[in-house]
């Protein structure tokens, strides 16, 4: 018997990648182990989470798509069997190439100016770790619409991504947990979604004595480990955060409790604001003015002699204000510093007021504010690798539904201002960004800090000026047109309002391009018919897509509508080198950075193909080999340019390299790039060793030094630039007669105020001719570590172990509420929203607010093997896709007002939205369940 242990990485969630070894016995993969070779380098000692262990079953799953398949039934509907027939890879690529060549013959853009080729990649930012060189193929192609969403606008931390990156290069915001002592977590569920590193660090910190307060409507996995749970009414987090600011600024002596030097020198707190809401500027230099208390006069913010800028008070000053579209006002009157406006702004938000809104006792809010200040250690320092830095061991974290949709801006702003008040922004112990996605270089946050206007960082905003605004959307989600903060990086398409293409497909708004469908839509690890809102509507649209080529693992609800299924080699079958370590997503900040290899661990059991080889072959067939190789050489898809200082591994443009040759060159270039050309490792070396690392300084976690070095300030608390871009965007849209985005334009406030966010959801009922009181409960969702991101719902071993975690396979309800509704444990209940209806089995809990119901993750499958036997309700089935629920960043939140009642039918029923046809392939209820027993799987957990 021979046993090998083959190193690979797992990136099945955005909190990776992590390192593991696959145990292969006599050529059969039989197990997964942590990769202890990197125990000293990996922040969680080389461990991997529950999903990685299921990779073995993922490899051998007999329900996989085992060879390319072609649709024979031209009719597309849930009730129409696709009529799949097996074809060879040659035939499959011929079929796709024929379509692609057809596009090139017609022109890459259609009559609406949209790309005829669209591609959607799911899994919340992890697809690139499995996509091989496919991105290089797309780069070679030309314009591709990558903005047809799979649910990211409603599923990710959308507001945090955009505003976080704007304020402190924090596409994702993390607490510096190893150096933090106190966390206020508004629904952040890092013990379920923060990856191995997050779980490991949180556990270490809890034992060390970190106090974690969890504020959320239901007691989550993360809440379980918290010192205290504070139940809060959904969508009212902004009220509590504003009240926390009120307590800090009006119930304590902020001059003593806050970090005044930080506010004076590293924020816009002293900038004078004129009567029109814009900075008062020096007429000659155009620089914002501050009031110098020493000289008793206004001076530019960067005056070298400025030592005592005023933070509060009213000062008679002269200058100019510059508003939208360069409108200017000469001002000579009493003006206030931005900080003074902040003080005034939060004055009404007393804890007593917040209690009435959020159902959080005023005393609890005061206690949180007091503890936050007590732990803030204002004035304290810490040594990090020989450098003295401020130490502010307090953090405010935000979770899903708090950081996206209406209220997301207000919460993100208030959280970041709370950090700024005590100087806990981008310093040890405080909050820090771990990722940049809109700025460059993406691999180095500190280098992305560049001086911009008014003493702040430069920002890659989409222009809103009359001359530069892009009024004609270039892709269907129109991020350049509607969302200035989304920027225009390769990631921006996925960060725009990605549900707008679906929303506008049936009924485009006024003065907007006709909603054309892409001639070819390529989808990869994505299932919007499950993961988007209003899934029935998505399916109705999918019926009309002319050609869908789906990289497919199993049959699922979206590829049911596909024309071509391409079973690419999955995690343990294909080859790819991927960047690892440094600072990245969620809580991935390491003291090393490098590259890790994913490689085939055994012969593939089915007729699958490495996606890099698919990309190379597609490029050849489309006549794009030269452009494709050039893109690979530039680093597209492979993460590192093949030609750099002191090395040149560039591929010959005339070559048709196979995957091993490409990745061998990538391995060599990657190691050279990491070591300033000194060291080289080839593919064979990586196959044995798994990963290559170089040290990464912990000082690089914190933006502080880079900001200091450039003499820059954080653009907080006052949002002059946001106010201006909103006003300009309003001008542009109104010039085109577009008024349907007016509500979104109201988000562009310089100091965001509380709005009745819960009422936005309540009004959905009225819009659909119902009364809000008919839907008294809030339906929420929550992440499950077993299922989040990995699209592993078809693996029965995960269902097997997930049965032990509360909430899987049912709808969680407060026990008292259930009693009032006559619902008992395990009862089949109907969940109705103004736009849909679904069913599930009741799970009664105490750790759920009485006005809340919780459905984990996103299930509701009807085509995916194993998962379609879960009988799980999904929020997505009853969530309305509605412009009214879309905020200015183009995101929504996973909350729905619903009614829950005991279902009359005693037997489990396939869940469905009102707008969907009943069951696949003419099945009657119950038949699907019987068939599932022929596909394997685990029965619903006993209740």
């Amino acid at each position: 018997m021979t046993t090998e242990r083959i190193p690979v990485y797992c990136y099945q969630c955005v909190a990776g990648p992590d390192l593991l070894k696959v145990v292969v016995r006599d050529g059969i993969a039989v197990g997964v182990e942590p990769n202890s070779d990197f125990a000293e380098i990996h922040p969680a000692c080389g461990k991997v989470c529950v999903r990685a262990y299921a990779l073995i079953q993922k490899l051998y799953n007999p329900n996989r798509i085992k060879t390319p398949m072609r649709r024979t039934n031209p009719k597309k509907a849930r009730t129409e069997d696709p009529g799949w027939v097996e074809i060879s890879w040659d035939e499959a690529l011929d079929l796709l190439t024929e379509r692609l060549k057809g596009i090139r013959a017609k022109g890459l853009l259609d009559e609406s100016g949209y790309p005829r080729l669209a591609a959607t990649f799911g899994s919340g930012g992890i697809a690139p770790a499995y996509l091989g060189t496919f991105a290089a193929f797309l780069a070679a192609w030309g314009p591709v619409d990558q903005g047809i969403g799979s649910g990211q606008g409603v599923k990710c931390y959308h507001s945090e991504h955009l505003y976080g990156e704007f304020w402190h290069r924090a596409f994702t915001v993390a607490a510096d947990v190893p150096r933090c002592d106190y966390v206020l977590s508004f629904g952040y569920n890092g013990d379920a979604s923060g990856g191995v590193t997050g779980v490991f660090r949180h556990a270490e910190a809890r034992v060390r004595g970190l106090t974690w307060v969890q504020i959320e409507p239901h007691l989550s996995i993360t809440g379980a480990g918290a010192a205290r749970w504070v139940p809060i009414r959904p969508k009212t987090d902004a009220a509590v955060l504003l009240a926390l600011l009120h307590v800090i600024l009006h119930e304590t002596d902020w001059r003593r409790t806050c970090d005044v030097p930080f506010l004076e020198s590293m924020t816009n707190s002293p900038y004078l604001v004129g009567p029109h809401g814009y900075y008062l500027r020096d007429p000659e230099s155009g620089k914002p003015l501050v009031w110098d208390l020493d000289r008793d006069r206004p001076v530019p913010f960067d005056d070298p002699r400025l030592t005592s800028p005023a933070l509060e008070g009213k000062f008679l000053a002269a200058g100019v204000e510059v508003g939208a579209d360069n409108e200017r006002w000469s001002v000579a009157e009493a003006v206030r510093p931005a900080f003074s406006l902040l003080l005034h702004h939060v004055l009404p938000y007393t804890p007593e007021w917040a209690e009435t809104v959020a159902d959080v006792p005023a005393a609890t809010i005061r206690r949180m504010a007091r503890e936050y200040l007590e732990h803030a250690n204002v004035g304290g320092t810490i040594e990090v690798e020989g450098t003295t830095l401020p130490h502010r061991p307090v953090a405010v974290l935000l979770g899903k539904t708090v950081t996206n949709g209406w209220g997301g801006y207000e919460c993100c702003w208030a959280r970041t201002v709370m950090s700024a008040l005590v100087g806990a922004l981008e310093v040890p112990g405080g909050i820090l960004g771990t990722t940049v996605r809109l700025n460059r270089p993406a691999v180095n946050r500190l280098d992305s800090v560049k001086p911009g206007p008014d003493g702040f960082m430069a920002q890659p905003l989409n222009p809103t000026s009359r001359e530069k605004w892009q009024g004609q959307p270039h892709i269907r989600n129109a991020y350049r047109t509607l969302v200035p903060l989304a920027g225009d990086s390769p990631w921006s398409a996925a960060l725009g309002p990605a549900h707008l293409p679906w929303l506008f497909m049936d009924s485009p708004p006024e003065h907007w391009p006709a909603p054309t469908l892409p001639d070819v839509w390529i989808i990869y690890r994505t299932n919007p018919a499950i993961s988007n809102w209003e899934t029935g509507r998505i399916e109705a649209d999918l019926e009309r897509f002319p050609f869908i080529a789906a990289f497919a693992y199993t049959q699922d609800e979206t590829n049911w509508y596909a024309d071509l299924l391409l079973p690419e080699a999955t995690d343990l079958e294909s080859l790819q080198l991927y960047r690892i370590g440094g600072t990245k997503y969620i809580e991935q900040y390491w003291d090393h950075m490098g590259f890790a290899l994913r490689q085939p661990v055994t012969a593939p059991p089915y007729d699958t193909r490495d996606i890099t080889d698919i990309a190379t072959e597609l490029a050849r067939r489309c006549g794009l080999s030269k452009e494709y190789i050039a893109a690979v050489n530039r680093g597209a898809g492979v993460g590192v340019a093949l030609r750099g200082e002191g090395y040149d591994y560039a591929l010959d443009p005339a070559a048709a390299p196979d995957a091993p040759e490409i990745w061998d060159r990538v391995c060599r270039a990657a190691t050279r790039s990491l070591t300033a050309g000194k060291e080289e490792r080839d593919l064979e070396w990586f196959k044995t060793h798994g990963a290559f690392f170089v040290p990464f300084s912990e000082k690089r976690y914190y933006l502080h030094a880079a900001m200091k070095a450039h003499g820059l300030r954080y653009e907080l608390p006052y949002q002059e630039r946001i106010k201006r871009m909103g006003a300009e965007l309003a001008n542009r849209l109104h010039e085109r007669g577009i008024t349907w985005w007016d509500v979104q334009l109201q988000e562009y406030q310089p100091l965001p105020a509380w709005k009745d966010f819960p009422d936005i959801w309540a009004k959905v009922a009225v819009k659909h001719g119902r009364r809000p009181e008919e839907f008294p409960l809030w339906l929420l969702t929550s992440r499950s570590m077993q299922y989040s991101w990995g699209a592993n719902v078809s693996l029965p071993i995960l269902a097997d172990v997930a049965r032990h975690v509360m909430g899987h396979f049912g709808l969680m309800l407060n026990r008292g509420t259930a009693k009032r509704l006559g619902i008992e444990e395990g009862d089949l209940v109907e969940i109705e929203s103004p736009t849909g209806r679904t069913r599930g089995h009741a799970i009664l809990r105490e750790g759920v607010r009485p006005d809340v119901a919780v459905a984990l993750q996103q299930f509701g499958h009807w085509a995916t093997p194993v998962a379609r036997d879960f009988d799980m309700p999904s929020l997505n089935q009853v969530a309305a896709m509605d412009l009214d629920l879309t905020d200015a960043t183009g995101s929504g939140a996973d909350v729905v007002k619903v009614a829950v009642r005991r279902a009359e039918s005693p037997h489990p029923t396939q869940t469905m939205p009102l707008t969907s046809s009943p069951l696949p392939c003419g099945e009657r209820q119950g038949e699907g369940r019987e068939r599932m027993k022929g596909e394997g799987g685990v029965r619903r957990a006993s209740r």
Binding site: V48, T222, P605, G847, E935
Partner: protein, 212 residues
């Protein structure tokens, strides 16, 4: 020498990584768990706590499952590990009834995750001798014994340590010699007052829980 575990409930997040790692290490069929993490709620809204409690064989010093075994298949080693000799077990279930921790599992027949038969990995890891007999957590005695034979130290060297402990992503599961006062498990048990489950049963479990 008495092998034991200390499980830190302050660290555990109920992720079931130990559950799946155990299943994989031992090739357990669907719906059989030698260990799992119970997800519990205590109290009433809003004064409620949620906690995760890993459950497994406690490898009791006074194991009630051993004396009730009519064939002598259930036995205890000198190092404290309680195990089942499959060759002698007749699957009568007395031991399962005697165990207050519900830690014994009768595997009636081969049960694969997919109905078409075992996947290649299931076929490669299946242990036919377990059919029709009582099974339970073994403290991964194969790893422990092989590790000791290789000069490794269980609880410190991963290859000699139970897989649940190796896999735990929160570092919540510690393994070692409870008779060695200098072992990590002994120190943790002493410093943080480890508690046993159902002490009133008089079983003297070798698994201790840290709660504060």
């Amino acid at each position: 020498m008495r092998w034991g575990m200390v499980i830190d409930l302050k660290r555990c997040v109920g992720c079931q990584t130990c559950t799946i790692a155990c299943k994989q290490e031992h090739g357990l069929p669907a719906e059989t768990f030698w260990r799992f993490v119970a997800d519990c709620e205590v109290g009433e809204y809003p004064n409620v706590r949620r906690l995760f409690l890993p459950m497994q064989c406690m490898h009791c010093a006074n194991p009630p499952c051993v004396p009730v075994c009519p064939t002598g298949a259930s036995r205890q080693r000198s190092d404290g590990i309680v195990f089942v000799d499959y060759a002698q077990c007749v699957g009568c279930g007395y031991c399962a009834l005697a165990c207050p921790y519900r830690a014994r599992h009768l595997i009636h027949e081969a049960q694969w995750y997919f109905p078409g038969g075992p996947t290649p990995s299931e076929a490669a890891t299946a242990e036919p001798e377990r059919r029709g007999v009582m099974t339970k957590c073994t403290f991964c005695l194969n790893r422990v014994d092989a590790g000791l034979a290789d000069g490794l130290k269980p609880g410190e060297d991963a290859a000699a340590t139970p897989m649940c402990s190796v896999a735990c992503i929160a570092n919540a599961i510690y393994f070692g010699d409870l008779d060695d006062p200098e072992s990590r498990v002994s120190r943790l048990r002493k410093d943080r007052t480890g508690v046993q489950l159902l002490p009133e049963c008089g079983t003297d479990p070798s698994v201790y829980y840290l709660t504060d």
